[in-house]
Amino acid sequence: MWYANNMRQQPFVPTTVFNFYPPNYQIPGTQLLGPEFKILNDSTTVLRINFVNDLVYGSVSSTTKTDISAYVSAAPDVNKLLDLVSLNMLHGQMSDGMRSTLSSTISAIADNTRRAKSALYLTGSSSQFQVEH
């Protein structure tokens, strides 16, 4: 609840009777409508990434645990790890550039658990994951 409130989407508590964001919100600087962007701002974007951080590196509550064992098992082979992350988080659509950046960052880490966490954090915090496309 605390996280949802931080990100301006606390269940059943929209800020107005028109729900969490208006359907006709136009993204500044574009001709595109992007309702959800109404609540994506300088603070919520950081808090969202910090939520990913807590989910991956810390804990979000005493009763919620994140099972990343499949990713840790795949971690010795960075390509395999990134395939799994791409499949589960990006519909198998991770771009070459993103893959290259993640690969070099993760390869420099020795510990498999930390490799998996780094891959999940960087993908979860990315705009490519955030915007479904």
């Binding site: 993204i27 992007g34 300088d42 603070s43 951080n53 950046t101 705009s127």
Partner: protein, 316 residues
């Protein structure tokens, strides 16, 4: 050395920003703090929009016998007793009015010519009489009586169609060239709102503390590499506008938080009934090595914005 003018400061300090490049060593809020501390003519316009939440009929009440009787009759149980109202004499009028009993300081400021009231402000496309309205002879604002639409129109000053840019954003678009680059002409502490949106300028839009940093980075080489990767991912041109926009917002946010001092915080020590403090410069404070952070505190209401240097604020 003479104090710098705003232009001088920006010309010499923010050349990277003026070149359109992110002023990475400053952060966007850092630019504001730096400007506030070095320029003599720093001013900020603070706008508070209550979305119609002010009970204006009890904020200022006519005091003459007949007008007060009329008010008391209409308001019934909500009327404030005449003797409790704080009388003021507007210079432009011959009749007296009274402020709500809680507005002692507003009354004082009014008497010092530091407060002005604009009454009966609303949206109209053209001068309209009641008869014209009832007979449908006048063009009226789109979706009149829809509070969401009227709130939108107050922020956009566009009444006959749905507008995506606000008058704050339009002002910022015009002013941006003075500052250059990524300087945040507008800072919203009320999240994204149409008032702050322009065609060119991205405001800092925060629904909390815009200086909140990314957590989980403690300076290890692994952390540093992960931060570099995170920021690198934000620069990718994916060709997808929605992703680009999310990346821009996130990049700006990270930049805003970096090297910035707290922009605002709740004001438990503030003697006034204020909830907001904005850091800036403190030109009339004595130099004190204990001050590591800007100590200018503006109590937005009800006291006139002013610099406060009370000792308990020095630890901020």
């Amino acid at each position: 050395m003479p104090r710098m003018s705003r232009r001088g400061f920006l010309k010499t300090t923010c050349c990277t920003a003026a070149a359109g490049v992110a002023a990475a060593s400053f952060g966007r809020l850092g630019l504001v703090n730096a400007l506030a501390q070095t320029s003599q003519d720093y001013r900020a316009l603070v706008c508070i929009f209550l979305f119609g939440g002010n009970d204006a009929n009890n904020l200022i009440v006519p005091l003459s016998s007949s007008d007060y009787a009329n008010y008391a009759n209409i308001r019934g149980g909500l009327a404030i007793p005449q003797g409790q109202l704080l009388p003021v004499q507007p210079k432009s009028l011959s009749v007296t009015y009274g402020f709500h009993p809680k507005f002692v300081e507003i009354q004082s400021m009014f008497n010092q010519n530091q407060v002005a009231l604009l009454a009966n402000v609303g949206t109209l496309v053209q001068p309209t009489t009641r008869d014209q309205y009832l007979q449908g002879l006048a063009t009226v604002p789109q979706n009149l009586y829809s509070h969401a639409d009227q709130q939108q129109q107050m922020q956009t000053a566009t009444l006959n169609t749905f507008a995506e840019v606000g008058w704050g954003g339009k002002l910022a678009d015009k002013m941006q060239s003075i500052y250059g680059g990524n300087f945040p002409v507008l800072i919203s502490l009320a999240g994204s709102n149409v008032f702050a949106e322009g065609l060119v300028v991205r405001a800092i839009e925060s629904s909390g503390d815009p200086t909140t940093p990314l957590s989980g980075f403690y300076g290890s080489s692994e952390d540093n590499a992960r931060m570099a990767a995170l920021q690198s991912l934000l620069t990718f041109d994916t060709g997808l506008s929605l992703i680009q926009s999310a990346s821009t917002t996130t990049s700006n946010a990270i930049q805003a938080a970096r090297h910035s001092r707290p922009l605002w915080r709740k004001a438990p020590n503030c003697a006034r009934r204020s909830q907001i403090r904005i850091s800036g410069t403190c030109s009339n404070c004595p130099r004190d090595t204990n001050w590591e952070r800007p100590c200018a505190i503006w109590c937005l209401a009800p006291k006139r914005p002013r610099v406060s240097c009370r000792p308990e604020l020095r630890s901020m």
